[in-house]
Structure formats: structure tokens, C-alpha cells
Symmetry: C2
Subunit: 129 residues, 2 copies
DNA sequence: ATAAAATCTGGAGCTTGCTCCAAGTCAATA
DNA sequence: TATTGACTTGGAGCAAGCTCCAGATTTTAT
């Protein structure tokens, strides 16, 4: 599968795909004899993984470190586990920040729905701005 | 309340506080007659709000737009409501990405816990990398 | 065989969101 | 009153994560 097909499938630019490879976020992709990238099943799995983790907000650096450990072989299981636990903690915390903000937004939106109707914006004192 | 006390209370730098004000993420802060910032109750509410929204991942630009509408007065209720709904949708989506990644991470971590014990790393084919 | 389209590489450039710095002002203390 | 320390501003600098570009190579279509 050529790079164009991959970037269409995942709605990601060619530049970003090449950048991910150069940055080590995915291992070196298979090539045709002409030197063009030829994404195999395995490569696509790595691309999906990178997109998923990046969408959740994990850093390029962290993903590259995982790939580095992966390529180092079976002596790095515990380091990889620790890295993944670290990643989980990071995004779990982010999820909590989001939940807090969501509930605040829900409150504010309800106040604005009312304000749009009545022409008056009111805040319950128990709530922050 | 002076700027130092505020940044200590919220674990945020003086530079960031001044930047938020300059960027319009919070309205202009009250001043002493000497020209120093003097954060009143109202100012602190805005600071808290900015920190909460930024932590959830909302952009400086979006927060500044809200403040702009706020300062424009009561004719902007519906625009502010729409902006907040937009914000909610953004971070709701982000929360979903995180949840997807969390469940993938949980699976991978469990595989690595096992790998660390047994020396062998296995993937269930139903799961992605 | 040749033109056009796709891909390659290395490196420069861009955007966001801070972060740091210099030079000046204000305030409290010795 | 002099000095020290906190605060001010405008602007430069920085890190992350792309994004764009130029010039070369490969592939496809005519």
C-alpha cells in the first residue's frame, strides 16, 4: 500500500506519515525496490497505534521511546510496561481535567440557554464563573 | 492580592498570568495606583476559569473570543452559548479519544504484566497492536 | 521515448503557548 | 535617602508538532 492510500485511509498527511517515521514514532516502513514506502499490514498497525496515541495527547517523544524499547527486543518488557503505565496515568489525569471542565461547561451552557430566553444571565453562587 | 500570591496559589508562572491577560484570556486585571496588578475576587474567578479550560485543552484563541463576547455585553448571550457548546463538543470528543486509548493501554499493560512474568509477549488477534 | 504524476530527502518555516530577558518603575527596609 | 526587591512592559527566544519547499528519482500514461 502506497503512502497516498495510507494517508487517505487515516486522514493524515503524507508529511505527517514521513515525519512519524523519521521521529521514530513508527519503525522504518517497508520499501519497494525503487525506494518508495510500501505499507504492509505490520506497518499499518504501527500507524494506527501512533494515531490513536497521538489523538489521546501522548507525546512524540514517549511514543518514540516505546518504539525504541520495542526494537531493543525482549529484555525491555518491564521498561515497556512501565512506560505504558506512565502513559495511562497521564491520560487518565487528562480525562479527569476534561470531566471537571465538562461539568462546568454544562452548567454555564444551561445558564446561557436561560439567558437567551429571558434576557438575564444568572449564576448560582455555589458555582464558579 | 499581588501577582506572586496568585501564581503561588494556582501553581502557574507570573509570565503566564501576564500572558493570559495580554492575550485576552482574562479581562484586564485591577491595578494599584502604582500600576501593579491587584487581583480581586472577580479577577481570580477569571484566572481559575482560564486554568480550568486550558487544562482541558481549549485554545487560547477560543477563551479570548469568549472574553471578547463577554465584554461586548448582553447582546452576545447566544453567541457565547454557541461558543460554549462548541467547546463542549471539542473536549467531549477528546474525552472519547482518551477512553479509546485508555482501553487499549489497559490491554497492552496486561499483556506486558504477563510478559514480564513469563518472558513471552502475546497479543490476542482481536486486538490491535 | 517522453511527458506527467507520485514519491523521495533534507532542511527551512510555521503556529501555539508559553518562557525569558532587559530596562525601567514602584515600594519597603536599613 | 539609598538600596534592595518586586513588579512593569515590549519583545525576543524556545519547544513541540507538524507543514511546506526544492531538487532529485521513480513510476505511469501517452
Amino acid at each position: 500500500m502506497n503512502i497516498q492510500a495510507v494517508c487517505e485511509r487515516y486522514h493524515i498527511s503524507q508529511d505527517t506519515l514521513r515525519y512519524y517515521e523519521k521521529a521514530g514514532v513508527i519503525p522504518a516502513v517497508s520499501r519497494t525496490k525503487g525506494g518508495k514506502r510500501d505499507y504492509r499490514e505490520e506497518d499499518l498497525k504501527w500507524v494506527e497505534n501512533a494515531i490513536c496515541m497521538r489523538n489521546a495527547g501522548l507525546s512524540i517523544e514517549m511514543l518514540a521511546e516505546y518504539v525504541r524499547l520495542f526494537q531493543e527486543g525482549n529484555d525491555t518488557f518491564s521498561q515497556r510496561r512501565d512506560l505504558l503505565i506512565d502513559a495511562r496515568e497521564q491520560i487518565q489525569k487528562q480525562k479527569e481535567e476534561i470531566e471537571e471542565t465538562l461539568s462546568l461547561l454544562d452548567y454555564k451552557i444551561s445558564r446561557y440557554e436561560e439567558a437567551v430566553k429571558t434576557g438575564v444571565l444568572t449564576w448560582d453562587e455555589k458555582h464558579p464563573r
